[in-house]
Amino acid sequence: MTTGLQRRMNLKSDLNDSELLRLMLAGDEEALSVLYRRRQGGIYRFALQMSGSKPIAEDVTQEVFLFLMREGQVFDPSKGTVSAFLFGVARNHVLRRLRVEQALAPLGDDSDDDASFSHPSTDMCPLEDLTRAETIDSVRKAVLSLPAKYREVIVLCELQEVSYGETAEILGCAIGTVRSRLHRARALLLAKLRPATAVEETGSATVKSARCFA
């Protein structure tokens, strides 16, 4: 019985996401299982990287696939991939949850977040000197402290390695907008990760282009 089920799931694992979705909507539980196992990791990590909360990430993952079960027929293959569709649904759920969380327990402003990033030495760059674990932790906190519209492009393009085109589909904007937001988001990240003295010395990324024109 289990072997037969495993064999059928292996056969379905060769199908693409659209075919799996079609089968799932027709009542095929194995198709749902295969599609879930293929896509849940990315959705879960996206929600976790966006929210910084495992419970929210779990809830969002569940909500995304429940939505797919209920409203999967709204997916239009001509508008993008199933993966982009799922990321788009996940993004909406994450942003909604964050708004609720923010209303219930207001967060401090960016300056407070910056203060929470304690660097061992103000005159040493953490990207160079901290251990790998510390670096990862610093980067994670810096990403979480970004405004949502910059955080989502960093998460999608840098952490999830989604293409610019697909990111534009997910966010519902032009590719050029994705590129400019990513550029700005990286500059903000650098500013957050660089010691305050270094920031003052070098200035922000937006004014850096005016430093020299060699």
Partner: protein, 256 residues
């Protein structure tokens, strides 16, 4: 290349994205000649490494198995509760609309055919009747029948220009209006139901009888409670008189 141009592509340069060879060479050359831009590139590369480390660190993270279990339970529950909605073309609502549209079109078409059929001009069936009418059969035109026809004509208005000739000699049941109407459709005539001319039991008609086609003044319609078009008051109207086996006129119907 200047610093502004370098700044616009420093992210792609640090992330190792594909770019034109000439652009790449120019950017590298500028990075070597400009200390600030070299530092900027170094920072970007460090940031890229940090983000890659974060991505690698989280790469193995997945939703707990309980989420999948919950989803599968929800899927099964949904399958039990609404199997019809899922089995049907809920993913293709447009097909249902098409089906409804085709059904509506069929209904309209059938209604039009029936309407046009019911409004056919009276000339066409009259010709058909003329073609159908056989030579009068002498054995039908016995005395008793003629007398009965005369009686009916008297009742209808005493104004028949021509004596009608018997049309058919076959038994007809009064209790079969459906078959009568079917016959009317075949001959392209429209007729009313048979109207009894005397008090009698329907069982007495089961033995059969004869139908005789006659022409009556249109005013005769009023005698049977039917509406009369006053503009065509003086015109004739065709009628079928049903005789019983005893030779008595039993019923009449008007034909168009």
């Amino acid at each position: 290349m200047n610093c502004e141009k370098f700044e616009s592509m420093v992210s792609d340069l640090a992330r190792g994205r594909l770019m034109a060879v000439k652009q790449l060479g120019d950017a590298r050359a500028h990075g070597e000649s400009c200390d600030a831009c070299a530092a900027r590139l170094r920072d970007e590369r460090m940031l890229t490494r940090g983000l890659q480390s974060l991505a690698a660190d989280m790469e193995t993270l997945e939703a707990p198995h309980a989420v999948e279990t919950t989803l599968l339970e929800a899927f099964r529950a949904r399958a039990v509760v609404v199997p019809v909605a899922k089995g049907q073309s809920s993913s293709r609502p447009s097909s249902r609309y098409w089906l409804a549209a085709v059904a509506a079109m069929l209904l309209i078409a059938i209604s039009l055919v029936v309407f046009r059929w019911s409004n056919r001009p009276a000339d066409e069936p009259r010709q058909a009747v003329k073609q159908e009418q056989p030579q009068p059969k002498p054995e039908v035109r016995d005395k008793s029948n003629e007398q009965l026809v005369q009686a009916v004509e008297k009742t209808a208005g005493d104004a028949l220009p021509q004596r009608p000739k018997p049309k058919r000699v076959r038994p007809v049941s009064l209790r079969r209006p459906d078959s009568a109407s079917v016959a009317n459709h075949v001959t392209k005539e429209i007729a009313t139901d048979f109207i009894p001319l005397s008090y009698m039991s329907a069982a007495s008609l089961q033995d059969g009888g004869q139908i005789v086609r006659v022409q009556l003044p249109r005013s005769a319609l009023a005698n049977f409670g039917l509406p009369v078009n006053m503009d065509r008051y003086n015109e004739k109207v065709k009628a079928d008189v049903l005789y019983g086996v005893d030779g008595m006129a039993r019923a009449i119907r008007f034909v168009q």
